[in-house]
Symmetry: C2
Subunit: 296 residues, 2 copies
């Protein structure tokens, strides 16, 4: 029986949390938040959650450490206030790219993050398009990775795209492009990363495809500096694509990444509210709500 | 038997860690540290610590969340590298002023911090002049609070002070002033906080003391904005004190606090390396080393 009744609005994900509460028909519980003059975060849960099953919605995009500490404060406080069960909804999981030890003595930081979330009382975790599924195995609590592609697909299905073609910026991201293409009834392909023998630089090369006078969507899980994506956009422009869209689940968009991608020929950069940004116009609330309804 | 052989140099406390290793005759283990472009911390322990008893030295002064996450990464990694025992040396313990719930639903954040340090494998904790001793009771592991007054006393005993008089900026800090006065064979007193009946402002008033042509030391555990201390310094100047020194364990010195205190009449503001700052010329390494020698 579905009995989630309260959705805690973590300061990094207030809008997403509100959307989720609405999708679920549950009550949104605001969190009063401030920073002390010395920089410490203060959080206060403003509703009664004793005996309730509570989703704590707090993504951990940059500044990661601040958002992470707020998440841990909220989980620990919610448990202290006698919530009956805590579901940590952390759409962007910080440190998930530090998942291997390449050199002796390196921190496998995502393992530490997993321990911290468990130590503060989460009974399960929900994340979205995490860097690699293997991270889920690190959890002793139940951990679920959802795909944002249904939400991204819904967004693009409303645009009148011309014979759309979906691209992954590299082969590793092909499954995601295939999924999105499935929602749109579109073709899909990927770009290949190649190392230039003379300069040692990584370049992205398009494979054989016919994109002339068709709309293109380049989709990835995360856009950081945006270099690979910008390269793909510029190849698509050279090949005669009509409109080029760039979409991602986690728009980190560091240091002018959006401007770089637009300058390379993209018409629009769009992301989801897993990461709050000025391009986060797609909400994953419905994806998370559907999952919670099914499993709780 | 004293068998601590390795001292891990956390990025927030490299100099203090080096001093501590030297005082103990142990080996300093450097930590390679960097920030990724997205802001995540990377840490790498560069020495072999398997089977060793290790002190992880990492203070958590501002930016607190960053320093805290680095501490947790280091503890978890050190345990993963099979250190036999971990002593967390955290001279400034972040969030220790959030130790009570004043309004319903507030996070008692220091409790969360305690859980996180324990969850990542610390076997014991050493801190210095913590906000309140009661915090130690929150730990299930052994937690020790040391006083920096011996180190501060040693510093002032080398200056040729004229009939020194030690002041606490408020009554709650009197014990600390008394301790420092004991090291210097000095008199001691405190200032009283009074609420102005008309304006509601808190003002600091001196009690009866004769400070004319004597040197004064105002000592506190922590200086944040420095307003109370500046007020005390300005009263001492009005009362005809010769040189006015301001000393503290944790020089946070937010937003021009040092300049404010100097402008109020202090000759010098001095702090310890519990918090790295440009006034941190007193090291607590000898205090920590002496404690570790006695108890390990």
């Amino acid at each position: 029986m579905f009995d989630l009744t309260k959705v805690l609005l973590g300061p990094a994900s207030v809008e997403l949390g509100r959307n989720l509460a609405e999708c679920l028909g549950g009550e949104a519980v605001p969190v009063e938040t401030k920073s002390f003059p010395d920089g410490e975060s203060y959080v206060r849960i403003t509703g009664d959650i004793a005996g309730e099953k509570v989703a704590v919605v707090q993504s951990t995009y940059p500044p990661q450490d601040r958002h992470l500490v707020q998440l841990l404060q909220l989980l620990d406080t919610a448990r202290d206030l006698n919530a009956s069960e805590l579901i940590a909804v952390v759409p962007y999981l910080a440190y998930s790219r530090q998942d291997k030890r390449f050199r002796p003595g390196e921190a496998v930081s995502v393992r530490t993050i997993v321990k911290l979330i468990e130590a503060t009382g989460a009974g399960s975790l929900v994340t979205v398009d995490v860097h690699t599924d293997k991270i889920l195995d690190l959890f002793r609590i139940k951990a679920h990775n959802l795909s944002a592609m249904a939400a991204i697909g819904e967004y693009f299905s409303k645009l009148k795209l011309l014979k759309p073609y979906v691209f992954a910026p590299d082969e590793g991201a092909l499954e995601r492009a295939k999924t999105l293409a499935g929602y749109l009834g579109a073709d899909y392909s990927f770009f290949q990363k190649q190392r230039d023998r003379e300069t040692g630089m990584i370049r992205t090369k398009g494979r054989d495809f016919e994109i002339k006078d068709r709309d293109a969507i380049v989709v990835d899980d995360i856009i950081s500096t945006g270099s690979t994506i910008a390269n793909a956009a510029s190849i698509l422009r050279e090949e005669g694509a009509r409109d080029i869209y760039v979409a991602c689940t986690h728009p980190l968009l560091l240091g002018g990444a959006k401007e770089k991608i637009i300058a390379a020929g993209a018409k629009e950069v769009i992301g989801t509210d897993c990461v709050a940004s000025d391009v986060s116009r797609i909400s994953v609330a419905s994806v998370i709500a559907e999952f919670l309804r099914k499993t709780l």
